[in-house]
Amino acid sequence: MGKNVLLVDDSSTMRKIIGRSLRQAGIEFDNIFEAADGLEALEILDKEKVDIVLSDINMPNMDGISFLKEKATRESVKNIPVLMISTETGDDIIGEAKALGALGAIKKPFTPDKVNEVLGPLL
């Protein structure tokens, strides 16, 4: 059975770019689900089988940090791994994300090679 990924970013352009970067990096998923914020992401996690989440931090409605906090309270999804993809690179906010369970972070702008370097070992 193949793997599924959930891309969470308020920019539809960035979701497309991340999806393309995954393919260019040779990382294949059976399904790529998309959400525009943390609230949409939680709805998808409730309904679909997701193996890993790639999430932005700065988003309207529910940002990436709030998403991690809320996800951690939900027994059925709390163990799904999350990798942050964001312009945010400060030790404080990335540290907070990691403390909430994020496995790491990829800084925007990024190359497919960078995506492969960080995401590859997690799959």
Binding site: T13, N58, T87, E88, P109, F110
Partner: protein, 157 residues
């Protein structure tokens, strides 16, 4: 120890990094304009509010032809007119340039917070300056076209 920051050069480097990494496009920067009037031709402007150690905004101003070329290159498809994809793509470009600038300012112990990008489309609008702000504009050439990155800010004391 705090470093002094050549903000214009940081904008040039940050913008070139975004375009070379995400679009495989090498930009040519023109002379940085500081506190002087500069003619800007824009059909779409994407702005990001800046807070924290400074207050202000970063804006990317593009004529329609340049905005559609950037978006088409970004997404790998033909784009004919300014639509939601263009507004989103130019907003994300502005977001990444602002993100690089945030890293630059962090070298001077100035912590910047970024708002969510906003895009404005039209033929007749202008972005009003913040009173007493520092205004830096960098014109960039992309192929035959030209666009502008503008930063207006006041340091919060």
């Amino acid at each position: 120890m705090k470093e002094s920051l050549d903000v214009g050069s940081e904008i040039v480097a940050g913008c070139k990094d975004v375009f070379s990494t995400m679009l495989m496009v090498e930009l040519e920067a023109e002379e940085v304009v500081i506190q002087k009037k500069v003619a800007i031709k824009s059909n779409i402007t994407s702005m990001i509010g800046l807070g924290g150690g400074l207050k202000g905004l970063l804006a990317v101003h593009c004529p329609a032809l340049v905005a559609t070329e950037i978006t088409g290159t970004f997404l790998g498809m033909d784009v004919e007119e300014i639509d939601d994809d263009v507004k989103d793509a130019i907003g994300e470009i502005a977001n990444m340039i602002a993100g690089n600038l945030k890293i630059s300012f962090a070298k001077t112990d100035t912590k910047i917070e970024l708002a969510i990008p906003t895009s404005i489309v039209g033929d007749s609008f202008y972005v009003s300056g913040i009173a007493d702000s520092t205004r830096i504009v960098v014109p960039f050439r992309m192929g035959e076209g030209k666009f502008w990155v503008e930063l207006m800010y006041i340091m919060n004391t």
